[in-house]
């Protein structure tokens, strides 16, 4: 479905995740974060950069991966993105919600 955010039309799925990563801009990320009740800080962006990097390299995202990322520890991760940190941060980063490997 279509959605207009930060004066830009984007395609999102029923859970609000971007369908096309190329439509993502920092402004879009900022607005998506606001919808989650999050005000982005430098530390938030550092995490977003890390996630987008991982995604581009086709690497799976997991809580364990965050633990070893060197960017942030899990406690801080939960503090920055309260509730479901991996779910919220990937939504803001414009990348698909991580599927847990089955």
């Amino acid at each position: 479905m279509k959605k207009v955010i930060a004066n830009k039309e984007i395609d999102v799925n029923e859970e609000g995740y971007l369908e096309d990563v190329s439509q993502w801009t920092k402004e879009v990320g900022t607005e998506l974060a606001k919808e989650q009740g999050i005000d982005m800080t430098d530390k938030h962006w550092e995490v977003i950069d890390y996630l987008q990097d991982k995604y581009k390299n086709d690497e799976a995202l997991s809580i364990r991966g965050i633990k070893k990322s060197g960017v942030i520890n899990i406690k801080e991760f939960y503090d920055l993105f309260p509730g479901g940190p991996l779910k919220k941060s990937t939504l803001i980063a414009g990348i698909p919600k991580p599927k847990s490997c089955i």
């Binding site: 991966g65 070893k68 899990i74 779910k87 847990s100 490997c101 089955i102």
Partner: protein, 414 residues
């Protein structure tokens, strides 16, 4: 004489030995299989052991019995793989040179990954049922447990047989009903996923079953530590779940030999091409079963389907042809739901489990994603199939390695 070495004589390794012994020319190839353990366990049986449905003898046999004649069997610990030198070092510095290596070293639980899990309460009030010892200790505990809060818990994905903890919950419900003490037991299912299963259709069906059986669900729970003094598990968001009896599926990891050899990812799984099963780093190293990092279930059925594909690809590799046999991620799992019934799911890398009939479209007799008695009979019959057909590499009639979409209610993707 060329040498093919298989590491691990579990489900996948044993099947590969059986497939290859009749297909590789004996005059040119020697086959060796290495495993440090004497006993081959029927791991799906560990689910039934705690509830006194299976006995100890039904889940273990001597591994040697399943290794075919003509295959050299070495019962020794593997110290290190040196893929650059094409050698494997065994205990007491014995060295094997190989032309082709098949890594089938499996995965196992690592309770020490979570603080407080493998501590003083391990196998006292905190149990696993993924090992023979754990399942047996849990059986003894359940035999005279007086009731209280039973928490069935998954630490992190991926785990071997992702439906097993759900099946454990369903069977626990039946077990306590049967003992006339269901009202004294509170069952809670705690998972790091956002639902009962990893895929939407199956998660929905399984959620209903949990509800129907009065089993509570706690989702999105990423465990941080076990507070064994106060009988609580605590997650990173500081959510707490109280237990009297904790049955957990600890972190699953590949074998330490993979880490010692520097061949694994964070969880000691070997990076593997998901279609061909060739390792990503070495062209003469192939990986099968739980040891791979391919994105499908870690399960015996998967190893079985992989074995057919890998056999073809190894023969192609030997002949210098491109590896064009492709594994589609096919998995096929019975899910025990208690009370003598079971569900069946059939899926692959791309297609999630849906409703339908199996293996004959429109006929069955098994039903996909629906509970029935026939499915349960199928699950019990599978133990015989495992020992007598699967390990020996005999194809299961009507079930091919490539998943069939016939007889399934598949929604068109728009």
């Amino acid at each position: 004489m060329k040498h093919l070495v298989i590491l691990g004589a579990g489900t996948a390794g044993t099947m590969m030995a059986n497939h290859l012994v009749s297909k590789l020319p004996k005059a040119e190839w020697k086959i060796t299989i290495v495993d440090q353990y004497k006993i081959h366990y029927y791991q799906p049986g560990f689910l039934f052991l705690p509830f006194d449905i299976y006995t100890e003898d039904q889940v273990k046999k001597e591994g040697k019995k399943f290794i075919p004649k003509g295959v050299n069997y070495i019962q020794k610990k593997i110290e290190r793989i040196s893929p650059e030198a094409n050698t494997v070092t065994l205990d007491a510095d014995e060295t094997l040179n190989y032309d082709i290596l098949i890594v089938a070293t499996g995965s196992k639980i690592a309770p020490e990954e979570i603080e407080g899990m493998a501590g003083p309460e391990w196998h006292k009030s905190i149990f696993d049922f993924y090992t023979y010892e754990g399942a047996k200790a849990l059986r003894d505990k359940l035999r005279d447990w007086k009731g209280g809060k039973l928490v069935v818990h998954i630490t992190e994905m991926p785990i071997k047989c992702p439906v097993a903890p759900l099946e454990f919950s369903f069977l626990a419900d039946s077990y306590f009903k049967h003992k006339g003490m269901r009202d004294k037991v509170d069952i809670t299912y705690v998972t790091p996923l956002d639902g009962a299963f990893t895929t939407p259709k199956a998660a929905q069906a399984l959620h209903h079953l949990l509800e129907e059986k009065g089993i509570k669900e706690v989702t999105n729970f990423n465990i941080e530590h076990v507070d064994y003094d106060n009988h609580k598990i605590i997650d990173y968001a500081e959510t707490e779940v109280d237990y009297d009896l904790l049955v957990t599926v600890p972190t699953n990891m590949g074998d330490e030999v993979i880490a010692r050899s520097g061949m694994g990812d964070d969880l000691n799984y070997v990076p593997t091409h998901k279609a061909t099963l060739q390792s990503k780093d070495y062209e003469n190293v192939f990986v099968i079963g739980d040891a791979t990092n391919v994105p499908t279930s870690k399960a015996g059925s998967v190893a079985h389907f992989e074995a057919e594909i890998l056999t073809e690809n190894i023969l192609r590799y030997v002949a210098g042809k491109p590896l064009d046999a492709e594994f589609d991620g096919h998995a096929n799992c019975f899910i025990e739901t208690g009370g003598g019934k079971a569900l069946l799911i059939d899926f692959n890398y791309d297609q999630e489990p849906v409703e339908g009939s199996f293996p004959f479209p429109g006929i069955g007799p098994l039903r996909l994603l629906k509970e029935n008695r026939m499915n349960h009979m199928g699950k019990l019959a599978f133990r015989w199939v495992y020992w007598n057909m699967l390990l020996k590499g005999i194809p299961i009639p009507f079930v091919s390695s490539a998943m069939s979409e016939k007889g399934k209610k598949i929604e068109a993707i728009v």
